[in-house]
Symmetry: C2
Subunit: 557 residues, 2 copies
Amino acid sequence: MKKELFIEVIPLGGLGEIGKNMTAVKYQDEIILIDCGMAFPEDELMGIDLVLPDYTYLLDNRDKVLAVLLTHGHEDHIGGLPYFLKQINVPVYGSRLALGLVGHKLKEHHMEKDAQLKTVKPRDIVSIGSFKVEFIRVSHSIPDAMALAIHTPQGVVVHTGDFKIDHTPVDGDVIDLHRFASLGEQGVLLLMSDSTNVEREGYTFSERLVGKSFEEYFAAAEERIIIASFASNIHRLQQVIYAAEKYGRQLAVAGRSMVTVLTVASELGYLKIPEGMLIDLDEVDKLPNNKVVILTTGSQGEPMSALTRMAFGDHRQLAVMPGDTVIISATPIPGNEKSVSRNINQLFKMGAKVIYEGNSDIHVSGHPSQEELKLIINLLRPQYFLPVHGEYRMLKKHAELAQQLGIPAENTFVGEIGQVFAFNRRHGRMVGRVPAGRVLVDGLGVGDVGNIVLRDRRDMAQDGILIVVVTMDKNTHQVLAGPDIVSRGFVYVREAEALMGEARQKVIAALQKCSDQGKSGWSYIKQEIKSALGKFLFDHTHRRPIILPIIMEVDKS
Amino acid sequence: MKKELFIEVIPLGGLGEIGKNMTAVKYQDEIILIDCGMAFPEDELMGIDLVLPDYTYLLDNRDKVLAVLLTHGHEDHIGGLPYFLKQINVPVYGSRLALGLVGHKLKEHHMEKDAQLKTVKPRDIVSIGSFKVEFIRVSHSIPDAMALAIHTPQGVVVHTGDFKIDHTPVDGDVIDLHRFASLGEQGVLLLMSDSTNVEREGYTFSERLVGKSFEEYFAAAEERIIIASFASNIHRLQQVIYAAEKYGRQLAVAGRSMVTVLTVASELGYLKIPEGMLIDLDEVDKLPNNKVVILTTGSQGEPMSALTRMAFGDHRQLAVMPGDTVIISATPIPGNEKSVSRNINQLFKMGAKVIYEGNSDIHVSGHPSQEELKLIINLLRPQYFLPVHGEYRMLKKHAELAQQLGIPAENTFVGEIGQVFAFNRRHGRMVGRVPAGRVLVDGLGVGDVGNIVLRDRRDMAQDGILIVVVTMDKNTHQVLAGPDIVSRGFVYVREAEALMGEARQKVIAALQKCSDQGKSGWSYIKQEIKSALGKFLFDHTHRRPIILPIIMEVDKS
């Protein structure tokens, strides 16, 4: 009897979470990867710089990995590449813009020489092993975003990437609904689709709406205009440039990522900046206020961003002034609400007119609402449906949406990262699990900060640390120096001199007790110090600092 | 010439921030206080339990302070009392419910005996020094909320407290618009009004709307119902009880603050619970699922709350089950969005039907929207207007609203805490400043954690701490033991053995260098260790842990 063959789909990131998107598609001994993203750390990941998907599974199967396919150039889809390619250097396929941004990133990691970046464009089809991968234009908040149709011996697997349906995109490149329709006619085995906005009814508005709002605010502004936005939203930047052109303003750019994207995008021709419009930040003050617009980072209230520094007077070149119109052209990403709000208050305090979410039309989403999601499902009519790119409740809601459109419940899957799904025309099911999770990057260290280190960081952040040092004679166990107590993050020492004095007496008593009992093991003594001091401090302060006893031994003989 | 007399108003909390409301009203040598609240700490206040207003000004003028007037029983209006009364024990006037909650709080601090709690009810007028204070019923998300009309020799000062205009309140006690109208007829010198929702157009919905939604969800639920809400929203709890009664469900209560409020409120008669409806949490499992409703804390996703523990399987008595209907009857307070969202995902994973903000009518605000604010301003027709209870941008918007209603711009004030405003019928202006800010409470310590301690906590949370200990001969400065390096929150030591070994060599080299140069001051040696080690670690890890050198000296002679 012949063995039944399946296409396996293994999400390694982006399901049950927002960020670090990565999905493996496997057929027999061949694996291709869709995206290789990173995530920004949650607050409780103290000190962590970024988070990668755990791709142990790929490392264990590295000889099977053939290529990475990029849907678009956002960090949550390309940010893991410098780390991944160091370990598994395979060709990377993507649009010109996505690869432009990847190239910039690899250069920062001094990896540009070995990378195999292969530019593709919409409707290109590339053969990779048994797969034929077709790239399909979609709309999104970055140009050159593409869905993938992966033609396999077991049927067609479609991955939408991040998308929306914008019938009037700024660059005129409309989503290729014709290809979706035609794939649907031929038959689609599996659809993976973007779940970010599945909780929103109706349609997501066109990016052009923002351009119209910009024009109104430009017409009304009598002084400088400052616009904060995501750097990667190049259509947004283009609309700022159009408005600046129309109203005769020069453009200055603040913030590292904004400068980077503007440079890459205009070099590659994705951004049309009229000759002579761009000026240096230092030149802003030389122009009349009504002749300037400043594009800046900081739409999320990031403390070190250019907008935050301008608002709080910490920016080297610019400060927000009374009369400035500040447009925050973004919505706060969940978790950033407070820092955005703090910036808005500060901008008002500086006398600026602040245009922000909730009182204006200066932002639209890059993700599809329910009606768009339905349209894509109905065009593609997939046999199986695996919602991706969303938290659990979004995946669940998206699966229910598909069921309403007639896909049988048993053919829809609310998945988790690490699950292995197997599909062919006869069966579709979850068949197993591989390791999945997150790898923490802190400075140069990848994966060297884990739960214990994080727990210590959290504990120290909570109540600080007390270090107790004592030098003892190696042989007699007589105390030669100390005990000394040093603390950090616990309490103002000046105000707590008496407390620290008493604490020291507790340690001396604990040492005496050990000596009286003839206990001389270092670990026993340390434990005694910890428990005596811990109880004393909690009783007196209701705090539980980390207590770290250190015993040094000196051979006095 | 006679000296011109003024009423002084000094906001000490609640302006330019949400929380820790406290306002001093002063006439000649008499001060009365409106509210005495606390705030919950922002994320960057690591380990801090709560935040109090800095009332140094009152301590400096303690013999002038006559009384505290409470507008209602929410923590941000009463939470500072246990700390304040310990230092300045004056009579506290408030509604029965507010004082019931205060009494409970003082009992926890073992302070109930000395407190002078004086119950007042709407339309009561009490004389305090030269002031006649009138209490006026308003609607809010806790019963028994009152505005204040303070009759002074220089005119009437009205403070709305927190309010909304609910024409169909659950307890039938409608806001006393008649008194507002009549005060307006007689003339009001100054109005201070709630700015929380000034960014919202229209009217805030009636609390009854939520009751109607509850009934619909109760009618549809086939299994258990779990409702998370703010404990203090007693009308909300009452509506849960009405629905439970109608649909024949028994009520169980989870979470400490929910139990406290339920007890206080039903003892005082604010909550009507039918005989026999209340059951113990342990009894829930003995009843059919469709005969139970559980009221719980945790609507803000607090990690230790009952709902969070039920969702994640950490609750001693209850766990969320498939089929449960979970209603989160609250909106996330800014900053809590992520933890609320995490709970919702987890509840869905457990198989619950989750009703939450954005897909339902299960919460209304307790604060007034623009039309309500306009109505109050127009009824009172104050000469001066000082918006309170809001962040800067809300105060500003509220002042603009008042200007639209005809109050001259120079008579509206966007204030800050610590500013002293002086008003009489001829003049109103900012005349000075007193100390103001925040006092941090950590465990039993009030004000003993400040910027340096917090900075250390933040730094340790970021990259951890490295402690370098070395024992040296007091006279010869010969190294007798060590250097030893111990770290916490820096890196997995097992994975970094080589790094730590090299780090130790760096310390030895630094010590040698000091010795070669004949430098023997401890602080010089410590500085050398810090800079050598700091540079080495940054080069190798891109992290900057706190480096704490400790030198112990032993007299070997």
